[in-house]
Each structure stands twice: as C-alpha cells, then as structure tokens.
C-alpha cells in the first residue's frame, strides 16, 4: 500500500523539492533580507522566550531551580514538537480543497501535496531547532549526548502529523465541517499536552487523560533530550510508533479509496 505511493513520490521528488523551494521563495521574495528572515524569525522567538521567561518573569522549573533558563528550554522544546505536528495537521486539513482546481485539471500523484507540506514544515522546524540551540548555547546551555535522538523524534512527529492530517484532509473534502472543528481540537490539544506546564501541576485525575494523548509522549521525549539530557521513554514511544503506523496505513487506505471521488466533490 505504501510502495506505489513512495515510488510516485520518488519520481516527483524534484517537483516536491521545487514546490517547497517555491513556497519559501515566494514568502521572502520581495524583502531585502530575503532568506535571512527564515532564521531571524526563529532566533527572535527563541531569544524573546529566553529573556522574558528567565529574566523578566524569573519562571523556574520545579526541580531545576539552579538553571534559570530551564523553563524557557522546557517550553520551547514542547513548542518545537507541537508546532511541527500542528502545522502539518492544519495544512493537510485543507490541502486538497486549496488545490482543488489543480487536482481537477492536472494529473499527478496527489500524495505529493501532503509531502510538500511535511517538507516545508520540517524546514521551518529545523530552523527553529537551530535557533533554539544557538540561543541557548550562547546563554550557556549546550544540549547533551541524548540530543542525538532528535532526528528520530522529529521523524516520528512528522509521521504522526501526516497520519492525522491526511485522514482529516480527506474527510474535509466531503464533510467541510471537519475543517472548522479541527482548529478548535488543535487548540484544545495544545493545552492537553504538557507544553506550558509540567504534568505534576495538574489534578491527578487528569494525568491519565494526558497520557492518552500521543503528543504527550512525543513532547516529553523532546523535553528529555533537549533539557534533561535523558533518554526518551522508548517503551511509550514504541506504542506511539505502532499507533502512527496504523494511522498512516489507515489514512493511506482511505486516501486511495476516496481518491476516485475526491475530484467529484471539489
């Protein structure tokens, strides 16, 4: 089921790359600094978080009182994971509708469209990661050896985002209310993931609910490798991996079935 999609995606790899390239080029084309903005934005974001949280608000992370940047890093690690996931989901949600005319008039592997989104979200995310690492290295916090798990975590986050996004994107073509509900769900999801807070500050009866959210495990793994320099919880990640595979398989199957009717509904 995956193979034909991968083959066609490989055949169209240049198109995928040039689409991502075009997207970024179009975003910065008439600005003087051009592509520099791609790194200025995330650096500013990381620096503002670091300064406001550590210096102005003096927010401390429980148990890490000696590191005044701990909370800023905690927050940014969580945001890193969440923004990758939610960018992919929310853009996949409308990708077929946004490209409706193209899908009607041109024949090309439709799987390219979510892949382009995943690619551009990945680049955005890597730039933010780079900015976070640079800013905190300058402030004296260098990530440890556990940071090496990062690529794996990012890949898993992308796969989960694609699985969820593709599923919702296909549904959205036929039931447009999906497109209205999902942004609300994403906001809710953000607060049901320990990004801004640590799990031990919320009521214990809600903690179980938190663990049902696959993004909780992923976000905590991000925090582990970026802040605490501890290994991710592989047992929990294994489950997430299985869930992600199932979700991807299901959404690809649905995508294939729906493909024949998708253009009819656009």
């Amino acid at each position: 089921m995956l193979a034909p999609n991968l083959v066609s995606a490989w055949r169209y790899r240049h198109f995928i790359v040039s689409s991502i390239h075009t997207e970024f080029r179009a975003r910065f084309v008439r600005s003087k600094l051009g592509g520099l903005w791609m790194i200025i934005h995330p650096i500013a974001q990381a620096a503002i978080f670091a300064l406001v949280l550590a210096e102005v608000m003096a927010a401390k992370l429980p148990g890490m009182a000696n590191n005044k940047f701990a909370y800023a890093i905690y927050l940014l690690s969580g945001m890193l994971a969440w923004s990758l996931f939610s960018e992919i989901v929310s853009r996949c949600l409308t990708v077929f509708i946004d490209n409706g005319n193209l899908l009607k008039k041109m024949r090309f592997p439709r799987i390219n469209l979510p892949l382009i989104i995943a690619g551009s979200a990945l680049i955005n995310n890597l730039l933010l990661l780079l900015a976070v690492v640079i800013v905190f290295a300058l402030l004296g916090h260098v990530p440890g050896s556990q940071f090496a798990w990062m690529p794996l975590l990012i890949a898993l986050t992308m796969a989960l985002g694609l699985g969820v996004g593709l599923l919702l994107g296909v549904f959205n073509v036929f039931v447009r209310d999906v497109g209205q509900v999902v942004p609300i769900m994403l906001q809710l999801g953000f607060w049901f993931t320990p990004i801004v807070y640590t799990p031990n500050v919320i009521p214990s009866y809600l903690r179980g609910v938190l663990q049902l959210n696959p993004m909780t495990t992923i976000v905590q793994s991000f925090q582990n490798v970026m802040l605490f320099d501890t290994a991710p919880n592989f047992a929990a990640l294994g489950w997430i991996f299985l869930v992600t595979l199932l979700l991807l398989a299901a959404s690809l199957a649905l995508f294939r079935r729906a493909s024949s009717e998708m253009v009819d509904a656009l």
């Binding site: 169209y12 179009a26 008039k105 090309f108 036929f174």
Partner: protein, 428 residues
Amino acid sequence: MTTEALTIRDLGKAFRSYRSEWQRVLSWLGVSVKPANEHWVLHDVAFSVSAGEAIGIVGQNGAGKSTLLKLIAGTMRPTRGTIDVNGRIAAILELGMGFNPELTGRQNALHTGGLMGFDRRALKQIMPEIEAFADIGEYFDLPLRTYSSGMQVRVAFAVATAFRPEILIVDEALAVGDAAFQRKCFRRIEAFRAQGTTLLFVSHDTETVKKLCSRALFIKNGRLELFGPAKIVCDRYEQHLFGAQPSPQAASAADSAMARFDPSLTTPACELVYGSGKAQIDSCWIEDLEGRRINIVETGEPFVWRYDVRFNEPVENPVFAMMLKTREGIALYGVDARQLDLMPASYARGDLASVRFELSNCLAPGVYYLNCGVRLDHQNRVEFLSRRVDTALVRVVESAAPTVAIGLVDMEARLSVTVSSGDLVQQR
C-alpha cells in the same frame, strides 16, 4: 492490426450524493450503501481512436465534454467502463496551472514541468527550446506577475508541449493568446501529429474542428450523439445548436430554392433586439437576386439582406444600417445609408420602409451573422430607433471547386508563376 491510441468502452460517470457524507465513507470501507441520488453526466460512451488521428469534440456547455476530457486525462475516475490509453497523455485543460506569480518564466517552466512529471534534467536540456517557443524575450527571466496574460499563455503552452505526448488533449485553451501565437501552437500540434500524436480537440468553433480534425464526436446530454467524419458531425451539431429539426436537403447544394433555405438557421436564440421604439423592424430575411428566400449561398454568389421598418412616429432622415459578423463577433462588413448616398427622406407615422441591401459575396465558407437597424444621428449621440443584432444567419457553402484555403474572405487570387531558367540567369 492497427494500434489504437485510445479505446473507450461503455464509459459512464455519475456524481453520487448520499443522505449523509459519512455514508460515503462507509461505502469506501466496503459497506454497501445505496446512494441517495446518482446524477449521470456521461453514459454509454464508447469509441476508439488510432494513433495520429485528430478528433474534434463538440457539444454545448454542460453536455459532458469537459467531464469526458477529465476522465481521459485521468484527473477524474470513471464510474463505469474503461479507458485504455496507449502512451503518455498531455492534457491542456487549462493553461498556466501550477504557475506561481513570484517565480520567473524559466523557474515556472521548470516547476510546472515537474508537476507534469517531466524529468528535471530533460527539462533543463530542453529549456532553450521552451524559451524560444514562448518568445517573450527578456521577460522569460522576470517574475510572472509582470507578464501580460498573453505572455503567460505563451510560457504555459511552451511547457505543456515541451515533449511530444502520444495523446494531446486541448480544451479551448488556445482560444486565448494572439492570432500569431495561435498559429504557432497549431503548427506544433500538426508537427506532433505528423510524428504520430493523437489529438483530442475541444472547441465551439466548428470551422476549426473541420479544418484540424478528420473525425469528430458530438456529445449531447451526456451521450455520444454522433461519431464520424468531422464535417458531418459539425453540421449536425450546428443544426442542433440553431434549434430546429434537421432538414436533409440543407446539406446538398441543389438548385431548388427549398435546398437553399435551411429552417434550422432561422431565428437564432442569440438574437438581441432593442431600440427607442420610434420605429420597429417587422421582419428581416435574406433572398437571392430573384427574390427567393434563402439562407444558404454558394461562395461568390451575391445575396440580398432585406428588412421592413415600420415607423411609429414621424422621423426625419433616419439612417438604415447593416452589419455582418463572424461567429466570434468579428465585424466583417458594416455599412449604412450615409455611405450609400441614399437621399434623405422623412417618414410619417405608420409608414413602412422596405430596405434592401444587395451584397456581393466574397465570404469564405462558414456561418455568418447579420445585423440590421435604423437610427437617428443627433448632434453628438446616436439614437437607435430599432436594432436587431445577430438576427439572421447565412451559411456560405463551397461552390463546385474550393476557392479559399483558409480564412474568412475570398480575395480571388489569380496565380501566375513565371519561370526563368537558372542557366539563363547565370549566362545573363
């Protein structure tokens, strides 16, 4: 065995609607759900096309032409039946799909070429040819947003036809762009055909279909009404279009006046009538020099455009006028009483003026539209007392021998070629 480029069997397309869209989702999961409604836009279409053939597709808007093309191009899936395609399809359903206004022509060519599935290296290799074909000079390296729409069309067509496809589908995309570029496009299409490309050409312009295509399909209400030689199919389509029963005599250019009058050409649905009401045009018709009512004339045969004007108020010096246009609305000829030295006259209420324009005919074969009107030229404005636009159609058919190869008019060329021997020239 001839190689069929395209074979279509029992093709049907239905748009299904369900009581709830979730029932549609269930239907993908293998649950048999009965759709609440099936709207068949295409049914029982079957035909086959051999390699190198050019097939025109005609039909009214909404008849199912575009659906058929989308099914063949593969952007839509059939509900029933099969489409067997031999080779690569290039479908120009709309020019400029996938273009980004911020990219240059060259970058867009590379980008949309990728979208069409072309290999990047091959695209880069052929880029000089794309640039030459588009022929927009230094604009090729400027952002697309600075282009005129004509320039965009040039780049779009150049990319879409950068590589020869086995089947080329063109959906009226060529209607845009200037005439010179259109010619260039048709030349490229013809060159492709010479190399074995099959052409599927959709157009409302039956003259172009007849010129370009050997056979044609007439799609009517989602069904294949007729498939056969382009001329016969186009004639049937026009008869259908002008809203009357087909008259078998019309096609043959026999001598009797009956055969020179095709009722399906009268009172076209496109007629537009307006005016201030001081006069009205009671009737208008075409007749031959002997006064027989006709609407089919042979090339070179003069005809008379007549209409009766009834005046509802006293009018001084009205100007009688006429015009002849092509289907595309190009005015070929217009004239009024001022050019023709008609003596000024005044008319009383209730007067009937019988107007007669005797016309010599240098029109190429085709269908033409006639206007008539009567107006008053005031100091700085024109008042139409009554005007009927596109009120009559005249079909010009070829007399025994064709006199026009291409175009709208017969300029009655006399050809002579003088030969001087090369040897003589050299010897002086």
